[in-house]
């Protein structure tokens, strides 16, 4: 069995599972945020109206809550939703609620690794499609709809059909100026928006061993854009060190067997990956950055669970240091812990000196909700994960997806720029 099959077998109390089997698995952790939380509350209300008694959750200790999509409160309704979410966590005794304005908070997927909320070998589900991100910690991590999350909150388990696994093998390190984002965009371009539909995308090979945990998180994050059920990387010493630095040392790792089966193996040579950009209006619509150097931009956005981890901010700062931006540029660290480290390392000063505005952690403009959305016909280069029509604002605005290096280089020139070409 491969790692995903072994995790699902263990969580369902079976000695062996195969792709296509339906298994009821015990869930280790579940997450809701300020969109899926109110959605779950609505499902609970419907069930109560039907006469179901809901006075406790299966295990409040295993539930955690993020405020990320509409914070700072975008308007009266989103402010009210935060109140509802707070009442919900109080009512059911959920202690891990990361509240905006009270110390650590941030984008849910970022908190999952910053706070080591999920550990290797666990089954983790969340009310958000990018829950896949957390699979880089060697866990089975998948997004669910509101009804399914409500079910898990009450029963602590959920059924899955064991997915087939596609294995992406990266041979050798990525070159300078190339990041995990470029690799995952290239992969999505190759297999398409639904190329991994109901499958697991597993990443391995020497290039992945060399890659930082944050880089791996970028890969698993965007498995969602290829339609994947989950993304995963096997635990190694790099992951153990990463988690130990956050105080997490006790967990039960799972590794694939030597004869693990994969539906298909894709090989990539690290040295051949180039700075890559996804053009509007789909993540699969890729091009090398150099071929897009005539595209004039209105804005650069460095934010989100995909592109505002500490390593992403360091990459942007490397480019922005001593330079001035030509278009409006925003940096929104994905969690307060990252914001703080960026401050301590002097990155925030580099951003401000370059003319960039630094904002609080939020999903905000990534999903076009608030905090800097695009006007009609505006063109943005963004370190985020989706560029469907209207994703970041007006239905006739355009988003190009890129790495933090490409986004920062483009912010300097005002056009899409390969960081290798920046003078």
């Amino acid at each position: 069995m491969n790692i995903t099959e072994k995790i699902l077998a263990r969580a369902s109390g079976k000695s062996k599972v195969s792709p296509g089997d339906v298994v009821f698995v015990n869930v280790d952790k579940v997450m809701i945020h300020d969109v899926s939380g109110p959605g779950v509350i609505a499902v609970f209300e419907k069930l109560k109206k039907k006469g179901m008694k809901i006075d406790k959750l299966w295990d409040p200790e295993r539930v955690w809550v993020a405020e990320d999509h509409f914070v700072p409160a975008a308007d009266k309704i989103s402010a009210q939703n935060i109140v509802s979410l707070t009442n919900f966590t109080k009512q059911f005794g959920i202690k891990r609620h990361f509240k905006y304005g009270m110390g650590q908070y941030g984008i849910c997927h970022t908190l999952s690794h910053e706070e080591a909320m999920v550990l290797p070998g666990e089954v983790y589900v969340g009310g958000d499609s990018h829950t896949n991100t957390t699979g880089a910690l060697g866990a089975f991590a998948a997004g669910l709809g509101h009804t399914d999350v409500a079910y898990v909150l009450l029963n602590g388990k959920i059924w899955f059909k064991v997915p087939e696994t596609l294995f992406f093998k990266l041979n050798g390190k990525l070159p300078d100026h190339v990041m995990a984002k470029d690799l995952i965009l290239k992969i999505i371009g190759d297999i398409g928006n639904d190329g991994a539909a109901y499958k697991t995308m597993q990443f391995g090979g020497t290039g992945i061993s060399e890659m930082s945990v944050e880089g791996r998180l970028t890969l698993t994050n965007m498995t969602t854009e290829a339609g994947a059920k989950s993304g995963i990387v096997e635990p190694d010493q790099k992951l153990r060190d990463y988690l130990a630095a956050k105080g997490a040392i006790k967990y039960d790792e799972v590794h694939g067997d030597a004869d693990a089966q994969y539906e298909k193996i894709y090989e990539y040579e690290g040295s051949e990956i180039e700075p890559t950009v996804a053009k509007p209006f789909s993540p699969e619509n890729i091009s090398v950055a150099r071929d897009l150097s005539s595209i004039e931009l209105d804005k650069a956005y460095i934010g989100s669970c995909t592109g505002a981890k500490l390593e992403d901010l360091r990459a942007a700062a490397k480019i922005l240091k001593g330079r001035t931006v030509k278009i409006r540029t925003e940096v929104l660290p994905a969690a307060i812990s990252i914001f703080r480290k960026a401050m301590e390392e002097g990155l925030l000063k580099i951003f401000l000196d370059a003319g960039v505005v630094v904002g609080p952690p939020t999903c905000g403009a990534c999903c076009g909700a608030h905090m800097g959305v695009l006007a009609k016909d505006e063109i943005c280069i963004s370190t985020t994960n989706r560029n469907f029509p209207g994703r970041m604002g007006h239905i006739e605005s355009q988003t190009y997806l890129a790495s933090p290096l490409v986004a920062a280089a483009s912010a300097i020139t005002g056009k899409i720029t390969d960081p290798r070409d920046l003078k």
């Binding site: 959605g39 069930l47 989103s78 029963n155």
Partner: protein, 190 residues
């Protein structure tokens, strides 16, 4: 939830690929906490030029499709955000069946939780459906789509079929039936 019955209706042809859940229900409506009434926001940016003013060239605004219960769409329908509001909106608007060549996974699962039948068909069959102007009959029990009285069969996972036919949307019911579902699935692999 009511058991799923035969549906006979004209089908609305939405000729687009990669329709993501943000097109189905734009983000500004996610803040609404009630579970009902999302139909008015379905495909909002495509349906309306501005509040109250419909776009004439959008298929849902064509009076011919006013009471349609079947939606046709191209590849990868329901991709993007996991928001269940997308399914709530389709249901509230009146769609009970969605036919496409492929669906995004979370969206596909969400459909069954809300009594909507998503059907995967081949390119050829979808093309045939897009070309017809007559009513289509969907029979889940028999797993057929009938155009001009000619039945075309479709596949569906057995546990999903059972859940829809018996109207088992409810969480408690699902729990009660979990053992049967597992057994049923095991013996009816497709």
């Amino acid at each position: 939830m009511k058991p799923f019955e035969k549906i006979k209706s004209i089908a609305t042809p939405l000729d687009k690929v990669n329709v993501d859940t943000d097109q189905i229900v734009p983000k500004q409506f996610l803040k609404l906490i009630q579970r009902t009434g999302f139909g008015q926001y379905l495909f909002y940016d495509w349906r309306y030029e501005r509040e109250g003013v419909q776009r004439k060239d959008f298929i849902l605004n064509d009076p011919a499709y006013k009471n349609s219960k079947i939606l046709l769409a191209r590849d990868n329908f329901g991709c993007g955000s996991s928001r269940e509001h997308a399914v709530w909106a389709l249901d509230d608007y009146g769609f009970k069946v969605i036919i496409s060549t492929s669906f995004a996974d979370i969206f596909y699962n969400n459909c069954f939780k809300n009594g909507i039948l998503p059907i995967r068909v081949s390119d050829d069959i979808l093309q045939k459906l897009f070309s017809t102007k007559s009513e289509i009959e969907v029979n889940l029990e028999k797993q057929t789509i009938k155009i001009d009285n000619i039945p075309i069969s479709f596949n569906i996972e057995p546990h999903w079929k059972k859940i829809l036919l018996e109207g088992l949307d409810d969480i408690a019911m699902t729990l009660q039936h979990e053992e049967q579902i597992t057994k049923y699935e095991r013996s009816h692999k497709i």
